[in-house]
Symmetry: C2
C-alpha cells in the first residue's frame, strides 16, 4: 500500500505537506502543490480512510439497518437512502435484518466508527434502544419507531389503518379481515388501532397478526377462505402483504376485486403497476420516507444541534383496481 509518506518522498517534501495538499490546498504553494499532485498521480496514491477517521475521530460512513428487500417498501427506501447519502459524500454500510436479529446486527455495526445510523427494524419495546440512545452518534428511525423514540419519520399509521378500513366500509363491505405483522411493531400496532377505530372490535377469526413471510400469508389466506363466512374484503397491514395475498388469490383463480377486495398501506411504487393496480393508503406528499429520514440524519450529523425530530406524514387513499363495492 502506498502511503502519504511515499508520496512525500517522491515529491521531495514532508508528509505533512502532502496532507495539506489534500486538505488545505490553499495553504501550500502552487509549485509545491503541483509536485505533490504529480507524485500522487504517478504512485496512484489514495488516502486511507481508516487512518483518517482514526485521527480525526470522524468518518463519512452511515449505517443502515433496513428491513428485508422482499418488502418493496424497503427497496424504495434503501435505494433513496443510499443514493442520497452517496451524493452527499457518505458511504453506506447496509444490513438487512429480520425482526429478531436487530441485536446482533447492531453489535457488529457499532464496531465501525460511523457518523450516524438509520434504522427501521426496531420493536416498540426494544432492549437495544437504550444502547442506541447512549451512543454518542445520531440515529433516526423511519417507518417504525420505539416507544420512547425522539427521532423518527413515519406516516400517520393510525389514520392509514382508519382510512383503509373506512374505504372498504364505504364500499359496503361488512365482513372485513385484517392481515398484519407483529403487534410489537409500532407500524402494525397503529394501523390495527386505526382499523378498529373505523370498524369497532373485529371478530377474532378475521384478525391475523404476525404474518411476516410469504408462507404465512399463504396460511393466513387459507384460513380465511375456509371460514363459514369468509371475508369479502381484506385490509393488509402493508403493501408487501397485499401483494402476496394477491399472488395467492390469483393463483387460486379468485377474482380481484369481484370476489375479494384488497387494500394495502404504504403506496409502494409497485402497487401502481398496470398488472397490479393495488388500492392502498400512503403519504399525501408521496415523499420517500427513507429519503426524508436520511436528509434529517445528515442534517443532524452536520449541524451538531439535535432538536427532537418527529415527522408524521399525513395520508390518503390511492384508489386503484383492487377494491369495489361489495
Amino acid at each position: 500500500m502506498v502511503s502519504s509518506k511515499d508520496v512525500a518522498t517522491q515529491a521531495g517534501v514532508s508528509q505533512a505537506t502532502v496532507s495539506r495538499v489534500l486538505n488545505h490546498p490553499d495553504r501550500v504553494q502552487e509549485k509545491t502543490r503541483r509536485k505533490v499532485e504529480a507524485a500522487i498521480e504517478a504512485l496512484k496514491y489514495v488516502p486511507n480512510a481508516h487512518a483518517r477517521s482514526l485521527v480525526q475521530d470522524t468518518t463519512k460512513l452511515i449505517t443502515l439497518l433496513s428491513g428485508p428487500l422482499y418488502n418493496p417498501f424497503f427497496v424504495e427506501t434503501t435505494s433513496a437512502i443510499v443514493t442520497y447519502a452517496n451524493e452527499r459524500g457518505y458511504q453506506v454500510n447496509v444490513q438487512f435484518v429480520q425482526d429478531d436479529e436487530l441485536a446482533e446486527a447492531y453489535a457488529t455495526a457499532i464496531q465501525t466508527k460511523m457518523a450516524g445510523m438509520i434504522l427501521s427494524c426496531v420493536f416498540l419495546e426494544d432492549a437495544i434502544f437504550e444502547q442506541l440512545t447512549h451512543m454518542s452518534i445520531p440515529f433516526i428511525t423511519y417507518n417504525r419507531k420505539h416507544a420512547r423514540n425522539e427521532y423518527f419519520v413515519e406516516i400517520d399509521n393510525v389514520q392509514a389503518g382508519y382510512l383503509a378500513a373506512k374505504h372498504l366500509q364505504d364500499l359496503g363491505h361488512t365482513r372485513i379481515a385484517f392481515i398484519g405483522g407483529s403487534q410489537k411493531v409500532s407500524t402494525f400496532r397503529d394501523r390495527f388501532i386505526g382499523v378498529q377505530q373505523a370498524l369497532g372490535e373485529l371478530p377474532q377469526e378475521l384478525i391475523i397478526h404476525d404474518t411476516a413471510s410469504k408462507a404465512e400469508v399463504f396460511k393466513a389466506h387459507a384460513k380465511l377462505k375456509t371460514l363459514s363466512a369468509p371475508p369479502t374484503a381484506i385490509v393488509c397491514g402493508a403493501d408487501s402483504i397485499a401483494l402476496e395475498v394477491m399472488d395467492v388469490a390469483y393463483k387460486e383463480r379468485i377474482q380481484i376485486p369481484e370476489e375479494l377486495s384488497i387494500i394495502g398501506i404504504d403506496n409502494v411504487e409497485r402497487s401502481r403497476h398496470g398488472a397490479i393496480e393495488l388500492t392502498t393508503v400512503g403519504s399525501i406528499s408521496e415523499r420517500n420516507l427513507g429519503l426524508v429520514a436520511i436528509q434529517e440524519l445528515i442534517k443532524m450529523i452536520e449541524s451538531e444541534k439535535k432538536p427532537c425530530i418527529q415527522i408524521t406524514e399525513s395520508v390518503k387513499v390511492f384508489r386503484r383496481s383492487t377494491t369495489q363495492p361489495c
Copy 2:
C-alpha cells in the same frame, strides 16, 4: 470514546492484555480474563474497527457496486450478497450506480480499505477495468462482464437470447421486436446476438437499444405501436424491461398475451407473481447470481489463491402466461 487503554486502566492490566483477551483468549489467565471482561462490560467498550484494520492491514469490509434497485434483478442479488456477507462476518458498503457513474463510485469506494469488491455495472470496454485489475484486492463481476474479465459470474446470455427468440418463433410469431439496453454492456450485447442467431437479421425498426429508464421503455413501446406492421411479440433484454413494457401495455388496455406476447430474461422472483406470470429465460439452477458471486469472492479473500473464476450458468425457458401462439 472508550478505548482499550481505558479498559486496561479499569482492569488494572496493560493495554496489550486487553487486546489479547479479545484476540487470543487462551493466552491469558482465566482470572485476568475475567477482570478484563468485567471492565469491558462496565465501560461498554467496543473495539475500533478502523484502528484494527489500520494496524492489521486487513478488514472485514466488502464493497458492492450494484445496478439500481428499480431493476428487480438487483434487488435479489443485493439482498443475497449483503445477507451472505453479513453471515460470514463482513460488512458491506453498498452503492447503486447508474451506467455512467462507475468511475466516480469507484474513486470514492477505494478510499476505504476493503477486503474485496463485487460489481455488476461494468461496460464491456470500461476504462476503469485497468485500475480494478491493478488493485491488490480481489474483485469479481456478476451479471455483466468486461471484455478481459478474469473473474465473473453470469448466465449464458447468448443462449438466453436465442431461447427467448426461439420460443416466440416456435409459437408462430414472425414480427418479433427486441428491446434492450446499451450494446456496450456484455449482457445486452450477448442476448441480442442470441436473438439474431435464432431470427437472423432483424429489421431495423424492430430493434430498440439503449433503453435504460421507464420513460424510455414508454417511448420504445410507443414507437413500435405506430409501426405500419407492429410486432406481435417482443423479446425484452431483461425482465425489468419486460415488466415495464407490461405496465405500459396494461395501461393502454393492450391484452397480453392475446394482442402481444412478451418474454423477458433473468427469471426474477417477481415474474412469478400471480398478477404477472411473465414468461422468461433464466438459470436452470435458479441459483441467485449474486449469491454465487459473493461466495466466490469470499473464497478468494480467505484462501488467497486466486485461480481464474468464470462461471456461466446454463439457461432454459420458464413458460408462464405472457406468451401464446400468434
